[in-house]
Amino acid sequence: MIWEIKLLALILVIVCAIAAINAKDLLSAAVIFGIYSFMMCVQWLAMGAVDVAFTEAAIGAGISTALMLAAIFRTSRRTKD
């Protein structure tokens, strides 16, 4: 992969991370966190860590987000920060 794209993906990861912790709504925070995980997975794919990327795609972006959504569904979306 071309390094510019890699760098872009890296910046995107950081942006997603900051966005996830600053979202004003837990539901969107969880979804952004899912995107973050997926971008991270792309990062790892770019570094050749296929197994890790696969796992992160399934676990980080998939199940983790689902669990978090389930928990938010059962509690509240409200957040003060």
């Binding site: 197994d51 796992t55 399934a58 199940i63 689902a66 669990l67 389930a70 569904f73 059962r74």
Partner: protein, 277 residues
């Protein structure tokens, strides 16, 4: 609070950056990390385990104990969730029951549970807080889920040759059940995989892993030494290791599937395991 946190965080970051001074640069082929252990793994593992996917070989065999513990961690997490949020059974019966007329989509509320005829139902039970029901979603998912599960099995079985293995396969398998729960309702999932089954399955998975390890001990070798499988079905030493990895991956897959399903069921139903997302 926030400012102090920011300051502390920035300070820590600066210290960490300073401490990277003597790291080999990124992608250095001659860095110690690429030489010592990893060189041995890359050069020897195929010969010893007959597994082209190096990650699977190291994960399943050289560091098999790690993997077993990792499976145990997932198993633990399932038990932990069960212990922490599962409500006692007698509390789990809801006060109200909702039934939907399948033709019209009207929802009926009742105080007692109704016997529903098994064949050709005119009414079906729905969750109290998840009434929408979309035919498109349900039908699509019903079609897709078997393929997802098939793919999950493939990922478990083909971990020797391509990215994948027990964890990934197990997670995909679990994801298919999550999809089932989301598209239909949690009760459908519980109906397919009830609590007893998932718990037994999760224990069975780790037990399979454990059993492979014990088999090694029974054959006079060390715990988790897949060399014990040499000679079983006329295998060579290396293919014995390969078989060992496969068995272990199946165990991991079972546990991960079951454990994640347990966690999802508990979280989405707030511990009642009746109604949920």
């Amino acid at each position: 609070m926030k400012k102090t946190a920011l300051l502390a965080v920035i300070l820590t970051g600066a210290l960490l950056i300073l401490s990277m001074e003597n790291f080999p640069s990124w992608g250095d082929v001659q860095s110690p990390a690429s030489l010592h252990l990893s060189r041995h793994f890359i050069e020897k593992s195929y010969e010893q385990t007959l597994t082209p996917n190096l990650v699977t070989a190291v994960l399943g065999d050289y560091r098999g104990f790690d993997t077993m513990l990792e499976t145990v961690v997932v198993f633990t997490a399932a038990l932990a969730c069960f212990l922490v949020i599962r409500l006692p059974r007698d509390v789990c019966t809801p006060g109200l029951f909702y039934y939907r007329h399948t033709r019209t989509g009207l929802v009926v509320r009742k105080h007692d549970a109704c016997e529903l005829p098994g064949e050709n139902p005119t009414f079906e039970r729905v969750d109290s807080d998840w009434p929408p029901h979309d035919v498109v979603v349900v039908s699509t998912c019903r079609m897709v889920i078997p393929f997802i599960q098939l793919f999950g099995l493939y990922v478990v079985a083909h971990g020797h040759y391509s990215p994948g293995g027990g964890f990934q396969g197990g997670v995909i398998f679990a994801a298919s059940y999550v999809l089932l729960a989301v598209s239909h309702d949690l009760r459908t999932l519980v109906h397919r995989l009830n609590e007893r089954v998932t718990h037994l399955l999760s224990a069975a998975g780790v037990l399979l892993f454990f059993g492979v390890g014990l088999f090694g001990m029974a054959m006079g070798l060390n715990f988790l030494d897949y060399g014990a499988l040499e000679g079983v079905l006329g295998m060579s030493l290396a293919s014995g290791h390969s078989l060992g990895i496969l068995l272990v991956e199946i165990g991991v897959g079972m546990t991960v599937t079951a454990a994640l399903v347990i966690i999802f069921k508990l979280l989405s139903s707030r511990g009642t395991v009746t109604e949920g997302l």
